[in-house]
């Protein structure tokens, strides 16, 4: 283990500040664990559909649309996507949801300020990929005229993830924007984005947040 590592001066640093315009800390563990659970459930559902696409299970559960689910999961669109990804598209979906889980569990409760790159990566995985997931499900319904209950559930979970992740992404974007507007220093913004500490970054972080 790293014996020379500095111990965190928790008493000097308030990790639970609340950034404007929220009434709560968007990086708090309570919210992030909920995101991890939602993404984990979506990953499990996608993994189950992936097992069907791989031929490891014979049928796919769907009490509402019945056989339509199997038709969606074995459709031409699905085969085309699987050829692009080199794995079944449901497995790729599972990996995207697992990415949400991994990225939401990394970082402290003030990561919106201390690790902007992490929030940017998390935002890129959750928001655009979530929208792609919803679009694909809508496309399958519109083009094929068939629906898949589990696909619809994962699409709804994707939308829920976007709603849950939005506040943290917004806080980081606002923090970086304020830093840019107040300093106009490209190098400083770049370094802050990658987690470098500075007086101006500290001041702006405190300026846009309050203690609980």
């Amino acid at each position: 283990m790293d014996a020379t590592r500095q111990m965190p001066p928790w008493n000097e640093m308030d990790l639970h500040v609340i950034p404007e315009p929220w009434s709560y800390n968007p990086s708090r563990w309570g919210e992030r664990v909920i995101i991890a659970i939602v993404a984990g459930v979506a990953a499990l559902i996608s993994g189950y559909m992936g097992l069907f696409q791989l031929g490891l299970i014979a049928t796919v559960w769907d009490p509402v649309f019945g056989e339509q689910s199997a038709r969606v999961l074995t459709s031409d669109i699905s085969h085309t996507l699987s050829q692009w990804f080199r794995v079944p598209d449901a497995i790729m979906g599972m990996l995207a949801y697992l990415a949400d889980v991994i990225l939401v569990l990394a970082g402290s409760t003030r990561r919106w300020q201390f690790r902007p790159w992490l929030i940017a990566t998390f935002g890129l995985v959750v928001i655009p990929l979530g929208l792609v997931s919803v679009t694909l499900v809508a496309l399958q319904g519109a083009v094929l005229g068939t629906w898949c209950l589990l696909c619809l559930i994962t699409a709804m979970l994707s939308l829920l993830l976007i709603v849950l992740a939005w506040d943290e992404v917004w806080s980081t974007a606002r923090y970086m924007r304020l830093l840019w507007l107040e300093t106009g220093d490209y190098a400083l913004c770049w370094q802050t984005f990658w987690g470098r500490a500075s007086d101006r970054a500290w001041e702006i972080g405190n300026q846009m947040s309050r203690r609980p």
Partner: protein, 119 residues
Amino acid sequence: MWARVMEVVLACWLVLSQFIFRYDGEDVFLRTNDLACAAIVVACSFLSFWRPLRYAHLAILPVALWLLGYVFLQTQSAPPHMNYMVVGMLWMLFALVPNYASEPPQAWLRYVKNMPEKS
């Protein structure tokens, strides 16, 4: 350091997967590739525990990209290739996670610790 542990777990999975997916007896390349990639990843993960080499986990990124690139060069998607895709993607994600990821970055810890001296 949970991400480092997960990288090692995935490396173990990759080594075991040749028995699970029952590679062809003559497929020496895949077996060697599995062992080489797993060895590099385990080495990088463990080296990350040593402060001077704390960023060693980033060296896992090229290994992950190699697995993904190899899969995209194949014309067919056999089970070992799909396995490479999954392991490569997960390695790439875990490699991005910093050591002691639940704490603020060292730069910020040092900054706050030295704050009284500044003022």
